[in-house]
Amino acid sequence: MPTVHAPTREAGADHRPATPPVIRAGGRRISRAWPYLLIAPAVAGGVFLLLYPLLRAALISFQHFRMGELIRGGAAFIGLDNYRELLAAGEFWAVVLRTFVWTAINVVLIVGISTGIALMLVRLGRRMRTALMSVLALVWATPIIAATTVFQWLFQSRLGIVNWLLVRVGFDSFEGYSWFANGTTMFGVLVVLVVWQSVPFAALTLYAGLTTIPVELYESARLDGAGGWQVFRQITFPILRPMFALITSLEVIWVFKCFPQIWVLSQGGPDGATTTLPVYAFKIARALHRYDLGSAVAILTVVILTVALVGNLRRMLKQEGADT
């Protein structure tokens, strides 16, 4: 279907101006120092409150740094011992694997459901669309801690509405069922919570993207006899590919690093079934006072994420830095 492909590229082209237009007013060239002055505060903030603590964490990960050292100081350098201990323990690898599964399940669900909702939004009548968009935005704006508390209440074993509903529709075994006592169901509840919270942002963003696709493209595709799925695969998806890439990588980062929901709801339990890397790092530091080992986990988390997203970062650098 070449007729469909040709305009696609054109339409895609003006979505991402890779380099900024340079302003020249009356031939005056902007002083070279300006951009650096403008980014200076941001860089300063990042260096003092992100880079420096990160380097501190890296340093701690090479030290013997526990409760005593935190209080008295005088931590000894022990090289790679913490990393060795960590990598030798089966638990770490189990946590890494669990984190990948956790991220994959959530991101697939989030992107899938959001795409569905975005496509639905485009087709809805005006009033219905406004209503749905408002609800999505409302959910998006609900603070994580409040939402997490609500989910505890929804899934309560005795008076929770979820069990009540399930019993009502005939699943009698859910009478007084403890969702939080079993690793798999706890994991499931957390997935529902995170997906529920993440879908609005992704759906609204994708919807915004969909509205920029010229209607003519769809019409010509329809005339060519393309079905709904074909239209999505051959027009919608290619045009929105950069946006899908952005949303997917943002969601990967957010879900991978997701912490307060898990911590408040399950503290990584039961029996470690919901311990992902950030929870693991926090648990080691907080419960065992092994700040050294916790920092090593954190550094490895950064390394893993960077490796996972390195393609994305490189593409970004190429795109952004084309003519610097």
């Binding site: 340079v22 990160l54 749905l132 508390t149 920092s295 650098l317 610097t324």
Partner: protein
């Protein structure tokens, strides 16, 4: 086409119901009387509406102090992040300079920062600079947490504003800053609001840092810490807990309703340029 339309609307209604339900249930529970909550057959609507749970929540120790602290810290962090990010976003979106590419990548990468793991280094830094128990330190941390996303989004909004508008103003004799103030800023307002809402939500939620940075001076703690300890104190009292959660969500929802229209258009514009 008629049945299709109906199917579509039904599906939309189902999505709507599922999405809204947790929020709805939170609010409804907070208005139900204790006996309604304990009842074996839950009702969709409070049979005996009451505001006693809100009284319990508001009457809890330190509620207003925590509320105020949260507002100060969150508001401060969002404002600083907006100003700082706007400057940076402007440099990225409107100028060419050496190092621009790496800067953008660094900003994106900053979103990967493992904040929970920086608690101890942050504690040490705060201690060594005598900033424990200070709201300023918390504000600084939240500013840094929200900044990367703010820059990315604002840059998208800025890029969406045609450069010709700005040039025209400059030609008309405006100074650069005047051009920015009079021309760009009004166009950017929706974007600023959408971004600040995001920053607000992020900072409003944070509790891990409060626990290690605010130690002795408990009057400097914030609402999320209060909400989690509220559950310790009122464990079985779901009415009061839901009232507390509602009160916690309220400022964000108000800010949101207030900005809703602009945020909607803002998100569209910002997202496209991502």
């Amino acid at each position: 086409m008629r049945p299709r339309r109906i199917a579509l609307n039904t599906a939309a209604l189902a999505v709507l119901a599922v999405m809204i339900f947790p929020v709805y249930w939170m609010v409804v529970t907070s208005f139900k009387s204790a006996t309604d909550i304990q009842s074996e057959t839950p009702t969709l609507w409070p049979a005996h509406p009451t505001i006693e749970h809100f009284a319990t929540a508001v009457g809890a120790d330190g509620f207003w102090t925590f509320w105020r602290n949260s507002l100060i810290v969150t508001g401060g962090a969002v404002l600083i992040a907006l100003v700082v990010s706007l400057l940076a976003a402007f440099a990225v979106a409107r100028m060419r300079w050496k190092g621009r590419g790496p800067f953008i990548v660094a900003v994106f990468a900053a979103q990967m920062a493992p904040w929970e793991a920086l608690l101890v280094p942050m504690f040490i830094i705060a201690r060594d600079s005598d900033l424990l128990d200070s709201l300023a330190m918390l504000t600084g941390v939240y500013f840094t947490i929200t900044m990367p996303f703010t820059i990315v989004t604002l840059r998208g909004f800025l890029a969406a504003i045609p450069v010709e508008i700005e040039e025209a103003a400059l030609v008309d004799g405006c100074t650069r800053s005047a051009a920015f103030r009079r021309v760009i800023f009004p166009l950017l307002a929706p974007g600023l609001m959408a971004t600040s809402l995001f920053g607000f939500i992020t900072a409003w939620n944070e509790f891990a840092f409060v626990n290690v940075l605010i130690i002795k001076d408990q009057d400097r703690r914030t609402l999320p810490v209060w909400l989690s300890s509220f559950r310790d104190v009122f464990g079985a009292d779901w009415g009061a807990t839901m009232a507390a959660a509602t009160l916690f969500a309220l400022p964000v929802l108000i800010v949101f309703l207030f900005l809703q229209r602009r945020v909607g258009t803002g998100m569209v514009a910002g997202a496209v340029k991502g």
